[in-house]
Amino acid sequence: MDIKILGANCTKCEQLKANTIKAVQELGLGIEVEKVVDLDKIVSYGVMTIPALVIDEKVVSVGKVLTVEKVKEFIGKER
């Protein structure tokens, strides 16, 4: 499984990344959460409002800071 956070230079993006890392740890997945900061790349996912959560190259959430629980839910759905 591959998890990315899209977003640069904003506090919300940092929050989402922290929550996602926590969710990954709690699920015991042991994978890296990658942060994409390049605007070109972000737009190539079709995302215009950051932060966004991408699981296995699929955009699952846009423009929101998800709670740890919510992230777990999304990960569970994509698994």
Binding site: V43, V59, S61
Partner: protein, 433 residues
């Protein structure tokens, strides 16, 4: 020790040392400037934070949570009609963007997969000027005239600049990527009229709590001024009723929240600030310990406050240090400012827009800085020119824009912004001086 990393810190410490070594303590101008800085901070804290900024944060938070952003972005998509796209792009900054970190992804999105270069540029230019916090603070501190001129000027010129960019680069259209826009998922919201009333109650509280004393002691404006707290209270009661019936907050919580407000209003009628603060505090507590939409509303308001207040405090301190309060001098002599941007000549308008375009203003800090400049003799025309060119552009964000649309387009865009800001500042100065 990794000196490739450490040298930056060394440089920083050396710079701080040099500043400390040559600190002009004892010079009258410097000491006066420090005092001015503190005076200005206190003035902002007393006059603008409780009644104006805090309600404004609640409004900005409500916009971020309750306005259906996907509905707005639909009109900026690839299939959208051009005329509509320009119109929406020029005003949508008020609901889509509050800080520059959200403007840039939206801009590159509209350019790459949405309505194209023109609307993207229109959005980029108008966004920072029409965002709700900027309008409120500009109107409050720099005067209603300049606040309205800033909003209208930004909207009109964003369309002009967008259309011109489209015309200049019409051959290069069509390289747009065919990607599906990922829309923010929004839950089915309230009907429009409910949202409308809700925002009206918030706006009513903000407007009437800040109603200024008119010049004459009679007439409609004075009548409103005399009963401004009564009107504000009516809006607040309306808000409370809406929170109970539409936002599913418990009625007894709202009732308990109202008790301290009413007590303060009865016991300290001469100090309405107490009742108002009690209301804000009580509302915050109810929202925080509630669940669902109310909590979301408070979280997003808090998010804005947390990001913007430290920047604004810093901006006010710097503005006070460099420029002083209105009618006072800071570190920079008034005569310099008068020479550079005084009056309303084309040159001073050009200088203001050129300097504004390259300078970086953190969200909202353009307001205290401009206030200082105006207090030191800057003309109204150049002030508008700086407001129109400044927040939309800065050297760092030019670099990002360049990475999105290339050097040539960026240069043309920056040129257009400077020229348009100069002209509109000049015209504004002619009519309102």
């Amino acid at each position: 020790m990794d000196w490739k990393q450490e040298w930056k810190k060394l440089l920083l410490i050396a710079a701080v040392f040099l500043v400390a070594y040559f600190l002009p303590v004892g010079s009258a101008r410097f000491q006066n400037a420090v005092l001015e800085s503190f005076h200005l901070v206190r003035w902002y804290a007393r006059e603008h934070v409780l009644l104006c900024l805090i309600p404004a944060f609640f409004i900005a938070g409500a916009i971020a949570v309750f306005i259906n952003q996907a509905a707005v972005m639909k009109y900026l998509g690839g299939q959208a009609k051009k005329v509509v796209a320009y119109g929406v792009a020029s005003v949508s900054g008020s609901v889509l963007a509050v800080c520059s970190c959200t403007v840039l992804p939206l801009f590159s999105g509209i350019y790459r997969m949405g309505a194209g270069l023109g609307p993207a540029v229109a959005f980029l230019y108008a966004g920072p000027a029409v965002n709700i916090l900027a309008i409120i603070l500009t109107a409050r501190i720099l005067g209603l005239e300049l606040g309205i001129a800033r909003a209208i000027g930004a909207v009109v010129f964003s369309i002009v600049i967008g259309v011109m960019m489209q015309l200049i680069f019409r051959k290069e259209e069509g390289e747009r990527q065919k990607i599906q826009m990922a829309m923010p998922d929004t839950d089915e919201g309230r009907p429009l009229w409910q949202n409308g009333l809700y925002f009206a109650s918030l706006a009513g509280i903000l407007i009437f709590a800040n109603w200024g004393k008119p010049m004459h002691d009679h007439g409609l404006w004075n009548a409103i001024y005399q009963s401004k707290w009564l009107i504000t209270a009516v809006f607040a009661v309306g808000l409370g009723a809406m929170l109970v019936s539409w936002f599913k907050l418990r009625w007894w919580k709202i009732l308990i929240a109202a008790i301290p407000v009413i007590l303060f209003a009865i016991l300290l009628p001469e100090q309405p600030v107490f009742a108002f603060s009690a209301g804000v505090l009580a509302l915050s507590l109810v929202l925080v310990f509630g669940k669902g939409e109310g909590a979301e509303w408070f979280n997003s308001s808090w998010d804005f406050a947390r990001q913007i207040l430290p920047l604004l405090l810093f901006g006010v301190m710097v503005a006070g240090l460099l420029l002083g309060r209105v009618g006072q001098e800071g570190l920079i002599p008034s005569s310099w400012i008068d020479r550079a941007v005084g009056g309303n000549s084309l040159l001073s308008n050009f200088f203001a827009s050129f300097a504004g375009a390259f300078m970086y203003f953190a969200t909202l800090t353009e307001v205290p800085i401009l206030q200082g400049l105006i207090g030191n003799g800057m003309g109204k025309g150049p002030a508008l020119a700086l407001l129109l060119a400044g927040p939309a552009l800065s050297l760092p964000n030019m670099l990002v824009i360049r990475s999105v649309m290339g050097t040539k387009k960026t240069v043309v865009f920056v040129g257009l912004v400077i020229v348009m800001a100069t002209i509109s500042g000049y015209l504004f100065g002619l009519f309102f001086s």
